[in-house]
Amino acid sequence: MAFNHKHLIDITEYSDTDIMTILETARAFSSVNERAIKKVPTLKGKTIVNMFNEPSTRTRSSFELAEKRLSADTMNFGGSSTSTVKGESLIDTVMTLDSYKIDCIVIRDKHAGAPYMVTQASPAAVIDAGDGKHQHPTQALLDLYTIWNHKGSFDGLKVGIVGDISHSRVCGSLVPALKIMGAEVTLVGPQTLIPPRPDVLGADHVVFNLDDALPDLDVVYMLRVQMERLEGAPFPSIREYHDLYGLTKRREHLMKSDAIICHPGPINRGVEFDSYMADHPERSVILEQVYAGICVRMAALYLLLGGADNGLSA
């Protein structure tokens, strides 16, 4: 198994083979999570810092659990609550942490490019847990893992991403990752929520009308409407957004019979979709994505820190 990456920051630096390696490794780790004793000694003796400079619940808890189930020593460090407030620069904070002799930094930051800066200040492996509006590669990987489990292959798969693309770091990783794996990507949303050059991300189509897009889609990926960003008003009201882009029961007849519904969470019922669709027993895979997060993060940590020499690849 050739996996020659030190960091996981920019998904476009990963090949389809690299990504499949992660997904297959994640599948192998899935069994660990099904056991009564959910722990393996894979990363025993490794120290990982979770540096979350921006609020995060699911990504942070998912990383923490993944690290603990791999037996790593972990430390949570809220950058914004400590150093930044006291005026310390990111580089100085990282150099301080690095003095503890750590092996990996998982960083969430509201500024694009922060993970790369961390690599310049520390020799540790760096995993981007979301930087500004740039990328969120482990989210993309857990999405791919979930889709792969349901569809078996990405080749020619039609994926539609609906909603706030332009503020979404998820899309910064997910769209290129889907393209690397051979899927066809359609972005759906009002122009105010579409980035200036969607082609740069790799999107094949941009459509304004959800009803036009739905009949073709194998995967409908709903994005959270960032309620906290409605100042500056990219659309007039939640009511109108829900009417135009909400995935609701009345739209189900437009969907393929085997189309699945993804969402990176947290979900807003009554905005992106109604409860019927959010909880749809055959279509909604939202909670599977949450579980996939642990498996994929265990795989990424193992591949970046454990290398191929600790037996799992045999």
């Binding site: 920019d10 200036p196 740069v200």
Partner: protein, 430 residues
């Protein structure tokens, strides 16, 4: 002090000179220009064989940071950097602290430059108090103490009515209004050119239209008021076309470009988030840079300036969004122009002199430099063949935030005279 500068290739498009000759200086003046001149009594004879001698270069867009941000640069270090770069004069921008929006600060800059400066400093003053765009600054007092131009460089005046009032009131002083064109509503917190790079790197975009809207607005206001308008650091093809149209109409409109907008593009901003390339306005597309180059060649662009914007190392060693806008430039400008434009045959040395000496002086309304007997001896000498590398430790400026670190350049200033006084000899600061 007297000098006989021998065997220099003198290029002065205004005097119509382009050939090897001698230039004699005595006191502040050039006393003779011609072939085989005799050295005046007590004159130091300097052999300039193989070098060009041109009217003193002026950079009409420089941030000296003094008063207020002397940790970035001060009048001494900034003018020393200017001398090293081959300049005999700079126009300082008013975003100092306190702001250069009153006569006292203008007088401080003039006085300080006279005390410690290595080149002439032509201060520009703010159009509005505190660069806030709300109330007129005391332009009359500033002119009385030596301000040569007015600008709210750094942000621009947002309200069209205010911009008109600035022009209407200030027109009596006969100075040029220099516009930093940036529509705050469109640009917002934009970090890089809107488009490919802003999408790829997930950063807020600074659209070309945010600049073009105000270029068009200020051209309209120049038409309305009759004021002289100079568009600062123009970066887009369409913006330049607007200036072309204004000139064709006969309006008193000029514009400038920077070496970084000519020789770098948004494509240079990669996933390492290089903060040295964070400038305002942002680096644009390769098509825009090509259009600017065309304007430099065809005369639509009047001046090459640096927008020399020194920052402390730690200020740029931050997340891209936190890093301040701007890069230094005054020490690399001539070398970049010689290497990329003159050496390659895109422009002549005479055109370079127009862009970097004649036009900036004319636009600012300061004394024209000329290589003729009786003229003030503001002179730049450069070696067109000298090869050098831009390195972090090679700057006279306090700052190192150049976007051209690592560039290999051909051509560099060797000697500079300001009013007959040498400020640079053989590449060394005097």
């Amino acid at each position: 002090m007297a000098f006989l500068l021998k065997n220099a290739h003198v290029v002065d498009p205004v005097a119509g000179l382009d050939g090897v000759m001698d230039v004699a200086l005595e006191g502040e003046k050039i006393t003779a220009v011609g072939e085989g001149l005799e050295a005046p009594a007590d004159a130091e004879v300097v052999d300039l064989t193989g070098k060009y001698l041109v009217p003193g270069l002026v950079d009409m867009h420089v941030h000296l940071r003094d008063p207020g941000q002397e940790y970035k640069e001060d009048i001494e270090s900034g003018t020393r950097a200017a001398a090293k770069g081959g300049f005999t004069g700079v126009c300082s921008m008013p975003n100092t602290d306190p702001c250069t929006d009153n006569g006292i600060v203008v007088q401080y800059i003039k006085t300080r430059a006279a005390e410690v400066g290595h080149c002439r400093v032509y201060p520009s003053g703010a159009c509005t108090r505190g660069l806030k765009g709300e109330a007129l600054a005391e332009m009359g007092d500033m002119v009385a103490r030596g301000a040569v131009a007015f600008t709210d460089d750094g942000r621009g005046i947002q309200d069209a009515g205010m911009m008109r009032r600035v022009m209407d009131y200030g027109i009596m002083f006969g100075k040029v209004f220099m516009s930093h064109c940036q529509d705050a509503g469109l640009v917002g917190e934009g970090q890089v050119n809107e488009g490919v790079v802003s999408t790829r790197l997930g950063m807020l975009g600074w659209p070309a239209e945010g600049e073009e809207l105000q270029i068009q607005r200020d051209i309209a206001l120049a038409r309305l008021t009759g004021a002289k308008l100079h568009i600062q650091h123009i970066t887009t093809k369409r913006g330049l076309d607007m200036v072309r149209a204004a000139k064709a109409e006969g309006l008193p409109v000029t514009c400038e470009v920077t070496p970084h907008h000519l020789f770098l593009t948004e494509d240079d901003i990669d996933a390492t988030y290089p903060t040295a390339l964070k400038v305002n306005p942002p680096l644009r597309t390769a098509e825009d840079a090509a259009a600017l180059l065309e304007g430099v060649i065809d005369g639509s662009v009047d001046a090459i300036v640096t927008d020399h914007a020194p920052h402390a190392e730690w200020e740029k060693a931050r997340e891209f969004a936190f890093a301040p806008f701007g890069m230094t430039g005054i020490e690399t400008s001539l070398g970049l122009v010689l290497t990329n434009l003159v050496e390659t045959g895109k422009i002549s040395v005479a055109r370079m002199v127009e862009l970097m000496s004649v036009a900036p002086r004319r636009i600012l309304g300061v004394e024209a430099a000329s290589i003729t007997a009786g003229a003030t001896a503001d002179i730049t000498v450069f070696d067109p063949a000298q090869e050098w590398d831009v390195t972090e430790d090679g700057f006279e400026s306090k700052a190192k935030n150049s976007g051209f670190i690592g560039a290999h350049l051909t051509g560099r200033a060797t000697d500079v005279f300001v009013g007959g006084e040498p400020t640079l000899r053989n590449g060394a600061i005097c």
